[in-house]
Amino acid sequence: MRYKRITALLLNLVMTALMCSCGNADSKRYIAVIVKSVNSDFFVNMQKGVESAATEYNVTVTFEGPENEEDYVTQNLMIDAAVKNGADAILLSAINYEKSAEAVNSAARKGVKVIAIDSAVNSQSVSLFIGTDNKEAGRTAAKAACEGFSEMTDINIGVLNYFESTENGIQREEGFREYVDSVSNAKIAASVNVDSNIESATAGAVKMLMENPQINVLVGFNEWMSLGVGYAIEQLGAADTVKGVGFDANVVSVGMLETGEMDTLLVQNPFAIGYLGVQKASEIISGDLTDSDPIYTSVTEVTRDNIYDSDIQKILFSFS
């Protein structure tokens, strides 16, 4: 009689365990993707990567970002909301390297995995970074900037960067400066930080070019900065005298590349960042992957000469 009771108890336990495991297996994982903005081509492409991977890995995703690319407060609220909505993981492209740390830590304390994409955040709780190796990208930009000048020519570089506390901008500039320092005839003639939108970027670039006429290379560190560089060169009619180097691409900057205002675009692979972000996040959630080294996605150097190569086309222009 006693054996029977014990066996029955064991059976119950086993069944409960089975039910639980089944229940878990059936509920879909939820990954919240929080980026800096949802307007730029960069993040639109990232969203496509996110959605592609979401279908492939059978997870639910949300993709959101503040209206304004400097609005870290809203971004932090979005992190909190994602935690409240039961996100299993958050993919975060942090606007502010420092100011979002607390929100990230608090999410991590509640068991939510946080993966930094594109732009890092100052927190130990981040499981993984996926994105461009920004320092390396900065070096590549500097290399492109210094190309095509004879050793006799002084290379005077104007740097147009955005919000000072965004980590990827800082890293890019750091890599850029490192490389420039190693080139004997190159120096950074001027540097300015502006808000991350086209208007301030253009205004900042025009002002810098006016004040520093010796500048013969102008560099912008994200999509809006690149446009600022291009528009400034266009406005001042300096396409032949100033070399434009920028990050990321959209139809306007590609047009500028064709017409000569811009000379080199360093195109990141936002689709890949979004895709990998969701892929790795679902692996981390299911326990197949623990913390790992950063995963760097490619940066493609696009110039007037290679813009219509078949592979570059596929990276540069989205199907929509």
């Binding site: 069944m15 089975l18 039910m19 492939e56 064709e258 490619s298 086309q313 540069l316 222009f317």
Partner: protein, 579 residues
């Protein structure tokens, strides 16, 4: 029964084991059969659904290509109506603006210069860096149509849509030196269609050209940046149809005009294996449910079958041990057979008890009758000897002694008869013994003396009549008769020391004594002369009346004497009457 070698097993264990074994076997067989059959069916389903998806996609591609060609032919036909490029372009612009899939219609001269352009309304670039929609080699070598793989259309300002170009040569130019007509069809619709093809949970499809080069892949940005590999070249070597390799189901289909191949990729692990696991899981759950139900059934079964059988068995054992004061109430059982068994047993136990009691009673009665018969008898030797003595006394003129002797004999008989009562007071019994001793002491000429020692208050209790006399007789004939010295007989009545409610009557002599064997023989042997009451009769009678605890015990030592003790319960008048 406990043979050591023979393994015995309880009914409940047997039923548990057999039912569980049956359930486990049945479920395992079901599981095995079901899994095999079902996983095959799943794989077949997966293949079929994959094939259907891919064929449908290929058909859709065919439709796109067909409609493109159709549109190109239509436009070429209308061309004959025009003599000026501008008016043609204007009219065609209406078509390109209303028909969303046509992005632009271009007419080139032999060098690829644009003669006429009808686009979406965007401004044509003044300088075109490199026209991806113009490929003179392809245009020249084409039989009737030239087809350019998806590419970016970069002729208009601010627009970079993905298009496929369909072109044909203009053999008889309607205007100017027009040589080629090319239509750029938007690719986005086709891309969206392919993006939305889902095979299984995360299967997908992509399109290659006939050489295996990827024309469009839903994740081409991932593939071209090297994050994911799609071995389209190797897959392209497969023929149209379904191919299952390792965990991947490759499904290929070629479009009607051999231009593209649609490749479907799906995973057996997700399509079949995952669902199979799900099914196995649910089967296992079902299995455990069955087991649980089986246990529940067993619990009930054991309650209504095993437990009653067990209690019946226990009752039987108890009955075996304590037949006398056994009571068994059958109880109401659910199972008919057990109820019958139980009822029968209850009935049988009562019958047996009655029978046993009856036998007891009958035995008692028999003994009593026997004893009564014995009591009624007068030992003829004793009577003869006594009467002989009386005669002798009378002849000698010893009238007084003769009178005493006759009186004693008369009393002896009177007590012996006692109005037919079995139980008399100890006092009467002792009187009986004394009369006997009086007679015997005359006969043995005072060869022995006797004394009584009776505790106060005990002589009013009752005892069986003629209990003490046979013991005295035994003492005289076997103890004192052969003695040279004067014998002595002591009769004591004492309260038993070990039991408050018992009385001990002891007859002791100082005669020759007996060996242990002799003592035993005395208690087991009937009287040799088969008349009168022997020591054995006394003992048996006490035991019949009062139980095994009571009766005689003999202590004897050779040349020292013998002492016979009677143990009887204290019986007052009421108890004696009740008996």
């Amino acid at each position: 029964m406990k043979n050591g070698r023979r393994v015995t097993i309880s009914l409940s264990a047997l039923s548990i084991i057999s039912i569980t074994a049956a359930a486990v076997t049945a479920m395992s067989v079901c599981l095995a059969v079901f899994t095999t059959v079902y996983s095959r069916a799943l794989l077949r389903d997966a293949s079929v659904s994959s094939e259907q998806n891919v064929q449908q996609t290929a058909l859709a591609m065919d439709n796109y290509l067909y409609s493109m060609k159709n549109q190109l032919e239509q436009i070429v036909l209308t061309m004959d109506n025009y003599t000026e490029a501008d008016s043609f372009a204007e009219d065609i612009s209406v078509i390109t603006r209303t028909q969303s899939d046509i992005y632009a219609v271009m007419i080139y001269d032999a060098q690829g210069n644009i003669i006429s352009c009808s686009g979406s309304g965007a401004k044509l670039k003044s300088t075109v860096h490199r026209n991806l929609s113009f490929d003179i080699e392809a245009f020249e070598s084409a039989e009737d149509f030239a087809f350019l793989s998806p590419h970016v259309q970069n002729l208009f300002e601010g627009e970079y849509p993905w298009v496929v170009t369909l072109a044909s040569r203009i053999e008889t130019p309607a205007f100017g030196n027009a040589k080629y007509i090319a239509i750029d069809f938007r690719f986005s619709e086709i891309a969206r269609y392919i993006d939305n093809v889902g095979i299984g949970r995360h299967g997908y499809c992509y399109v290659t050209d006939k050489n295996g080069e990827i024309v469009y892949h839903p994740q081409q940005q991932v593939i071209f940046s090297g994050l994911k590999e799609e071995n389209s070249m190797a897959v392209n070597r497969l023929e149209d149809g379904v191919h299952i390799e390792k965990n991947i189901i490759y499904t290929l289909d070629t479009t009607y005009d051999d231009l593209w191949r649609v490749v479907g990729i799906s995973y057996t692990d997700e399509l079949a294996v995952e669902r199979r696991t799900q099914i196995i899981t649910s089967l296992i759950i079902a299995f455990f449910c069955c087991a649980l139900i089986a246990f529940g059934v067993l619990a009930v079964y054991s309650k209504i079958v095993n437990a009653p059988v067990l209690s019946l068995m226990k009752a039987m054992k108890r009955f075996e041990k304590h037949t006398d004061n056994f009571t068994y109430s059958g109880g109401t059982e659910t199972v008919k057979e057990i109820q019958v068994l139980s009822d029968s047993f209850a009935h049988m136990s009562v019958t047996i008890q009655n029978l046993v009691e009856k036998v007891h009673k009958e035995e008692k009665e028999l003994r009593k009758t026997e004893l009564k018969a014995l009591q009624a008898q007068i030992n003829p030797h004793f009577l003869y000897n006594t009467l002989d003595s009386i005669q002798w006394m009378c002849e000698q003129g010893k009238n007084e002694e003769a009178t005493k002797m006759v009186g004693a004999l008369a009393k002896l008989f009177r007590i012996s008869i006692s109005k037919g009562r079995e139980l008399i007071t100890i006092k009467e019994e002792l009187q009986h013994a004394e009369n006997y001793l009086i007679i015997q002491s005359f006969r043995y000429r005072n060869q022995f003396s006797y004394s009584f020692d009776v505790d106060e208050g005990l002589e009013n209790y009752y005892c069986n009549k003629i209990t003490v006399q046979p013991l005295i007789e035994n003492a005289i004939y076997h103890g004192l008769d052969r003695m040279v010295d004067k014998g002595e007989i002591k009769i004591t009545v004492k309260q038993a020391e070990d039991c408050e409610s018992d009385i001990l009557i002891t007859v002791s002599d100082n005669g020759v004594g007996m060996t242990k064997e002799q003592c035993e023989r005395v208690l087991s042997k009937e009287r040799s002369d088969s008349s009168g009451i022997g020591v054995k009769n006394v003992n048996d009678r006490l035991k019949i009346y009062f139980g095994e605890k009571y009766g005689l015990s003999i202590e004897s030592e050779l040349d020292v004497g013998t002492s016979v003790t009677v143990r009887i319960p204290k019986l007052d008048k009421e108890a004696a009457n009740a008996l």
